[in-house]
């Protein structure tokens, strides 16, 4: 009698184990896995090493070295309207498709540096961070994006540092703006805290700042 139950148990336990084993065998490997930990990612993101400066980009374009591969993540329409010489168009919606992702991984292995860019830097920021975390070590991002590179290119021989590309620089003196002080006051405070007040050289943004509000 007792043996009878035991036989049933053996069959049931065997089936249970079998289901698990079948599950393990047929399990699909995930296509994407994080290779960097959060801490490593944060360190990579905080250091400026992975940002390709405009000056460096200009250098690369002049020397036409094949070490760098520009990847344009904008839509094909935008790409046709104008792009960096030698850039490859992989729209963001297809960036992680199987063949494109394989290609990106491959070029990473070939010691090629991938330089991602969009219209502005923020467009390429998240895709770049993801590629980085997925283990494509040599992924870089073009500082300022396409628009600012184009704006800087006419000034190619110019060695003057071009600061306008970084959207993270405070364009306005927030404090003064909010206080609504007069123009004269702002100028004096500009001297007191110069690092706060890097104004964009565009007249459009300059005048409201002066206006106080």
């Amino acid at each position: 009698m007792k043996d009878n139950w035991l036989n049933k148990l053996m069959i049931a336990a065997g089936l249970f184990a079998l289901i698990i084993i079948i599950g393990l065998v047929t399990m699909r490997k995930p296509a994407f896995r994080y290779k960097l930990t959060e801490k490593e990612t944060l360190a990579a993101v905080l250091s400026a090493d992975d940002q390709l400066s405009i000056d460096k980009a200009k250098e690369i374009l002049q020397s036409k070295t094949s070490e760098y591969q520009f990847v344009d993540i904008r839509t094909p329409y935008e790409f046709i309207k104008g792009h960096i010489d030698g850039a490859l168009n992989i729209p963001l919606s297809n960036l992680f498709s199987e063949e494109n992702y394989d290609f990106l991984k491959q070029s990473g292995k070939e010691n090629k540096t991938l330089v991602l860019y969009g219209m502005d830097q923020s467009q390429a920021n998240a895709p770049w961070m993801l590629l980085k975390q997925l283990g494509i070590k040599k992924a870089r991002i073009l500082q300022g994006g396409y628009a600012f590179l184009m704006a800087a290119i006419p000034a190619l021989p110019d060695t003057m540092p071009f600061k306008g590309y970084d959207s993270e620089i405070a364009r306005y003196n927030y404090v003064e703006l909010v206080k609504g002080l007069s123009k004269a006051d702002q100028v004096s405070s500009q001297k007191a805290a110069p690092q706060k007040l890097i104004t964009k050289p565009k007249p459009k943004s300059n005048s409201p700042a002066a206006g106080g509000c």
């Binding site: 009698m1 007792k2 139950w5 035991l6 049933k8 148990l9 049931a12 336990a13 249970f16």
Partner: protein, 177 residues
């Protein structure tokens, strides 16, 4: 499956490992479907809270303990345990009927009377009622389900319950052996 006598029939229980395996599958299925484990004392608590709420809603609102669970009642799973316990009653009845164990009786050691047994049972129930509130669940809710889901609380509850029962076992031996 030959049955020799009714007495033998009444005692035919599952192999404990087979029973445990089936219980594990039921628990796994419960977690798979509802995302929570099995339980029993929670159903009693829900019933108590509901009953007190019907009799005197003001009291529930005033009471710090009841009021926690009344607000929780918006949650669709709050009454789940009550239905689960109704299922337990039905399932146990079916199993008892199939094995011929349905019978009104007080089970006790020959050394004690039914009256003693009933007093002990009511005291035991009282203890379990209080203890399950401290432990946030009983043997099935906190210990069994907790262990299956690897909750720290489950292991603490299991060790505390069985440890204390072994500790007190000597005092109560004459009620059982």
């Amino acid at each position: 499956m030959n049955t020799s006598s009714t007495e033998d029939r009444g005692k035919r229980y599952l192999n404990p490992y087979f029973g445990g395996f089936l219980l594990g599958l039921v628990l796994l299925a419960t977690m798979f479907v509802t995302g929570r484990g099995l339980g029993a004392s929670g159903a009693v608590k829900s019933t108590v809270v509901q009953a007190v709420n019907t009799i005197s809603p003001a009291h529930v609102e005033k009471s710090k303990y009841y009021s926690q669970f009344i607000s929780d009642d918006i949650h669709p799973m709050s009454n789940w345990l009550v239905f689960e316990i109704l299922g337990v009653l039905a399932g146990a009845f079916v199993s008892g009927a199939l094995a011929g164990r349905l019978k009104f009786k007080v089970e006790h050691s020959p050394k004690i009377t039914s009256r003693t047994r009933l007093i002990m049972a009511s005291l035991g129930g009282l203890m379990f009622g209080i203890g399950s509130q401290f432990g946030r669940g009983c043997t099935s809710g906190a210990a069994l389900s907790g262990m299956a889901s690897m909750a720290t609380s489950g292991f603490i509850a299991m060790m505390a319950i069985f440890g204390s029962a072994y500790m007190f076992a000597y005092l109560f031996r004459k009620f059982w052996i």
